[in-house]
Symmetry: C2
Subunit: 156 residues, 2 copies
DNA sequence: AGAATTCCGACCATAGTGCTCGGGAATCAA
DNA sequence: TTGATTCCCGAGCACTATGGTCGGAATTCT
């Protein structure tokens, strides 16, 4: 392509985050009811099962889900739904919340020589903390519950 | 690559947004002092001038800057620095703030059939409004001023 | 006229996205 | 023990986005 203007969308969450979140909410809904197979999730959520395998592998390595092999096996949440936040899921699948390398989470990295005269660092810092706070404030329990009842009315 | 785990970073702002924001803050600092050439900006901010041309073209089409050709020409902000927000700049360069297509800005699009039973839509909705509020709350005037004084001390 | 500078569009290399496919290993049931 | 089920693992692949470069036209100032 070229000097393209059609910049698609800012802060877009890829299918990793999207599908992964749906997977986790699905597991939250069935929490306490034994293992859930990826096949079942893929069917309910209408997602490609082979692709979900990749995503759930990441979630397992992040310690968010437990896998059980064999017939009757499947996945379960590693902790109760109220103890897993949207931030946990997003960070596992999409990486650390980090608008810029100089605004990484946790450690205030000072690897940029322009640091002091940088007029834009504040933007990305604020953004980082804002996003993190929002995501860390939502648990899978809430998300699973919110959709039990059908009233998804959000004021703009 | 393959089933890669090294997911780089979530909510990463590309160089379009990064460089563009630095360009705009630079223009804000020189607001009222006539046109500023891209050459000067590129030198001060240590950015590739040819690439900046592309970015500033987008900003001009978005009505955020004005270009003046010829010797002594350059760019100026189209409005006063206090009337341009970080959100304006980011939206122009990176596209609308839209974590998911079903959570586009402005119009609550209902193009998703899963809508009602979708447990994750609330996450992206909240994220969208959170990000937009943060970015729209910062003006170029503030950013330009903040770095005049050297105290960039932000509590984590 | 000549220099400066914006404007415009083509081109290109690399990496990330969004999957598919094949096969191995564990577990359960008949 | 055989087979079905399911997780687990790694390779491959098409497409798009990213992050630029380059050459040249048009405009304006001196």
């Amino acid at each position: 392509m070229l000097g393209n203007q059609t910049t698609p969308a800012a802060f877009h969450v890829s299918t990793r985050g999207e599908y992964g979140m749906r997977l986790m909410v699905d597991l939250a809904r069935h929490y306490g009811g034994g293992s859930v197979s990826l096949h079942a999730v893929a069917e309910r959520e209408e997602l490609p099962e082979a692709y979900l395998e990749q995503l759930v592998a990441i979630l397992r390595k992040a310690g968010l889900v437990l896998g059980k092999r064999g017939a009757g096996g499947g996945y379960t949440l590693a902790r109760e739904p109220a103890a897993i936040t949207a931030g946990d899921v997003v960070r596992a699948l999409e990486g650390p919340i980090e608008p810029q390398v100089c605004t990484a989470e946790g450690d205030p990295v000072f690897n940029c020589v322009r640091e002091q005269r940088c007029g834009t660092r504040l933007v990305w810092l604020k953004l980082q903390s804002t996003i993190a706070t929002a995501l860390d404030g939502m648990t899978l329990a809430e998300l699973a519950r919110q959709t039990q009842q059908q009233d998804v009315t959000v004021a703009p």
